[in-house]
């Protein structure tokens, strides 16, 4: 299971950290090994959720995303664990 996740992340290369402002994406894979990431999943950052980068704070970190119209802020080191694909790119 872990291997598959890593493979998906490698093949795609894009994570929440590398998103550009205003780009709408769908979370494709999450690496849940870290407890901080599990907390974020409880807040709704799971596979299949649509997400968009809204802004970056002073110093470029943390990042603000819009998840179902709601602002949520993540640090870069956490955003790295979420791999994304553009909306409508198929499964």
């Amino acid at each position: 299971m872990r291997i598959i996740i890593i493979l998906i992340m490698d093949a795609n290369g894009k994570t929440l950290e590398t998103l550009k402002c205003g780009q709408r994406s769908v979370i494709r894979a999450v690496d849940p090994s870290c407890p901080q990431v599990q907390r974020l999943m409880t807040l709704g950052l799971v596979e299949g959720a649509e997400i968009e980068l809204a802004s970056a704070a002073i110093g470029g970190d943390p990042l603000e995303f819009r998840l179902f119209g709601r602002g949520i802020s993540l640090r870069r080191e956490q955003a790295r664990h979420f791999s994304v694909a553009p909306v409508g790119s198929g499964d």
């Binding site: 299971m1 872990r2 999450v30 849940p32 090994s33 407890p35 901080q36 990431v37 599990q38 907390r39 974020l40 999943m41 409880t42 807040l43 709704g44 799971v46 596979e47 299949g48 959720a49 809204a54 802004s55 970056a56 704070a57 002073i58 110093g59 470029g60 970190d61 943390p62 603000e64 998840l67 179902f68 119209g69 709601r70 602002g71 949520i72 802020s73 993540l74 640090r75 956490q78």
Partner: protein, 727 residues
């Protein structure tokens, strides 16, 4: 002989059954409008207490209906039934009836923000499995409509196993009547029969307890499976028998595989939520609201930083511009009252107790109120408008470099006016280590009570020269502010490296849209915080003020009184008119100084003076510093008395006396190194009983206030000594 039967009923159950017909827990996400709705429903019929053993506040209100009176418990906001902070843990433990001595609620009012159904329904889904009567209030339904979102309420209710759903607007009161009626009948409403969205988990839960006689609720077993063994489900684990741990692990392996249970739960439940949303919600083209635009603008680094400074500048302007006149008024009133009492009762211990002890004591509590109320008000407004989260987001990077998180910024900045509201504002910090580190750093910020002392010493002993284009006095004041900031940040940093070492807390900050704060909610919160201040800090300040009075008053020397009387008679025979009054006042002041010298306070000053010799202090300064420990601003009045210029002396007179003050060997006391040391001592020392009382309350132990006091006093002493010895 018949034995008396022992009946055990939890205390609060008696209270509940007598006062209210039902007890309903109000549950919802943070920022879901839960407290606004709670305040709408209960008005001022509220009580605030504490949950045992933690600093989490317990808000209970009464909903009065024609035929019933319902107790509503406003629980801290939570996103899910798995806890990440003390507040969330309390909320969950109350809902799941896991707190000893706190009975299970008769029903649940789930508050869901209509503009944030995604996270709201996640929690509702978990609540549905608790087999408790449930109603859902959809708050901010007007904002959802304005955003172009249409919600099919009837369909939503169907998805939620027939749970009644009420769209409301808590700020205007729209839709509240049907909700009130439903709450009145909630206890009798059957619990929802909700088909499990995760059949594998439900089956595993049933399996796990298949051989146990008294079956616990399935939801409790599911939480045990997902959250693992912990303090709150110990009883459940024990019911499983001897090899409980092994059984549990086996069941967990079967359901979750190698996935972390929380991650698996989030995946399954949010999949269901998305399915529901797709069915009940039609999204029109939402217009980009002004709030979104404003948010976007304030999020850019430069406008965001400017915005933050502007907001804090307004707060400080308000604290100093509005509070200072009121504080002067209170100060003046207390002095006038004291004078009237002194005149009315004549000289004597009772008169002095009332005038200088009680009235001055009450005055020193009340004098804090204007700036504390204003500061509380602004902090609450910032919190409720959603700006606090935004400031935390903007400053997170900078605060993280010193080992804190963005949420520490507002408490720290507020402490520049007064550490008491600053420390109480640390409640927004979910991580306990971060929170305590912030509390330890806050008292180092230069509060408004330090300013008069700084101003006096700087005006008297720092030459009014210009260095380059800067005024030296201003430079020293600026240096003292910076010194406080550096010391505070250093303290937080060191604490996070040592005593408060721990894993980096998860940072997941929900950034709510800006919204206009609800006045009723603001008022109720303000009232609550002011009450806490008066009860916790006020009593301490008052007690200590009276104790210091007694130390400075007793014992009275009859000899000195006699001598003063003789001098009075002499002066009356020698002078007349204004000259007589000056002479009499001078005699009074000198007599007061002499009395103070032989009082317990004076003796204490002389007793500890040797300890302060390395700092260059004489017994007078030592006595004034001791008197200033309960509240640092007292020091000026004490210095005034000690130096025989009266406790109401103006600054110029006092600073002249200070300059003329000599050690027994004839060298001046207030030399430049000594003054720098004294300033450093004041910048560090925790001379504020109110702050200590609030730290005690917010950390729920005496350990932290005692540590803060010892630590800050040591630093102040060492700093003052270094300055005196090296400069």
């Amino acid at each position: 002989m018949t034995k008396a039967k022992e009946i055990r009923v939890p205390l609060n159950q008696i209270a509940t059954s007598r006062r209210a017909d039902a007890s309903i827990a109000v549950v919802g996400n943070p920022n879901s409008g839960k407290s606004t709705l709670f305040n709408r429903l209960t008005g001022l019929r509220q009580r605030v207490g504490n949950y045992p053993g933690v600093t989490v506040e317990r808000h209970v209100g009464t909903l009065k209906l024609a035929d019933a009176s319902i107790e509503l418990v406003d629980l801290p906001g939570t996103h899910a039934l798995s806890a990440h902070s003390d507040e969330e843990r309390i909320a969950i433990d109350v809902i799941m009836a896991r707190l000893p001595g706190v009975a299970a609620p008769d029903g649940i009012l789930a508050v869901v923000d209509a503009t944030n159904l995604y996270q709201g329904l996640y929690l509702v889904q978990q609540l549905l499995e608790l087999e408790l009567p449930l109603v859902v209030a959809l708050t901010m339904s007007d904002a959802a409509e304005a955003g172009g979102v249409e919600i099919d309420v009837a369909r939503l209710s169907e998805w939620l196993a027939g749970t009644p759903v009420f769209p409301v607007v808590a700020t205007t009161g729209r839709g509240l009547e049907p909700l009130r009626a439903a709450l009145g009948k909630l206890k009798a409403q059957p619990a929802p029969v909700f088909a499990p969205v995760w059949p594998e988990l439900a089956a595993a839960a049933d399996d796990l307890f298949a051989e146990v006689e008294q079956k616990p609720r399935r939801a409790d077993i599911e939480r045990l499976l997902i959250d693992g063994p912990g303090a709150s489900n110990q009883a459940l684990l024990e019911a499983l028998g001897a090899d409980a741990g092994q059984k549990l692990r086996k069941a967990q392996d079967r359901v979750f595989g190698i996935d972390p249970p929380l991650a698996a739960e989030a995946r399954v439940r949010y999949q269901w939520v998305r399915k529901v949303l797709a069915d009940i919600q039609t999204e029109g083209r939402s217009l980009i609201s002004w709030k979104t635009r404003l948010t976007g603008f304030l999020n850019r680094p430069v406008p965001g930083t400017i915005g933050l400074f502007l907001v804090m500048a307004i707060v400080f302007q308000a604290v100093f511009a509005w509070a200072t006149p009121m504080m002067d008024l209170i100060d003046g009133t207390a002095a006038t009252l004291g004078g009237m009492v002194a005149n009315g009762l004549g000289d004597g211990a009772l008169s002095s107790l009332v005038a200088d002890g009680v009235i001055a004591g009450v005055g020193s509590v009340v004098i804090f109120l204007p700036q504390i109320i204003i500061l509380f008000l602004f902090i609450i407004l910032l919190e409720d408008s959603g700006y606090l989260a935004r400031a935390a987001y903007l400053m997170d990077r900078a605060m993280r470099s010193v080992g804190l998180s963005g949420q520490s910024i507002i408490p720290m900045i507020s402490s520049f006016a007064c550490a008491v509201p600053g420390i109480m504002a640390t409640r927004v910090i979910p991580n306990r280590r971060d929170r305590i580190a912030t509390i330890m750093a806050a008292p180092f910020m230069t509060c408004s009570a330090r300013l008069p002392v700084y101003a006096l010493l700087i005006a008297a002993f720092v030459p009014a020269e210009t260095v380059g284009f800067l005024n030296l006095q201003g430079l020293v004041l600026f240096g003292l502010y910076m010194f406080g900031i550096v010391m505070g940040i250093l303290t937080a940093f060191l604490m996070r490296q040592t005593a408060l070492r721990g894993p980096k807390p998860p940072f997941a900050l929900m950034l709510p849209e800006f919204r206009r704060p609800n006045l009723q909610t603001v008022f109720i919160q303000l009232l609550g915080r002011v009450k806490v201040f008066l009860r916790r800090a006020g009593t301490v300040i008052f007690t200590v003020a009276v104790i210091v009075w007694a130390l400075a008053y007793f014992p009275r020397s009859g000899e000195l009184e006699l001598q003063a009387a003789t001098e009075y008679a002499q002066a009356e025979s020698m002078y007349a008119g204004p000259a007589l009054e000056t002479a009499l006042a001078d005699i009074d002041n000198r007599a007061a100084a002499a009395q103070l010298e032989q009082s317990w306070l004076g003796r204490a000053g002389k007793f500890v003076a040797p300890a302060f010799v390395p700092l260059g202090w004489d017994w007078r300064v030592s006595a004034a510093v001791i008197a200033g420990f309960p509240a640092r601003e007292v020091v000026i009045a004490v210095l005034g008395t000690v130096y025989a210029v009266g406790d109401e002396a103006d600054e110029a007179t006092l600073s002249q006396r200070l300059k003329a003050s000599r050690h027994p060997d004839g060298s001046p006391v207030f030399t430049f190194p000594m003054v720098v040391g004294l300033l450093i001592f004041y910048a560090c020392c925790l001379q504020c009983a109110a702050t200590l009382a609030v730290i005690r309350r917010e950390t729920n132990s005496w350990r932290w206030p005692v540590f803060a006091w010892c630590y800050m006093t040591t630093i102040g002493y060492l700093g003052a000594m270094l300055a005196y010895q090296l400069l």
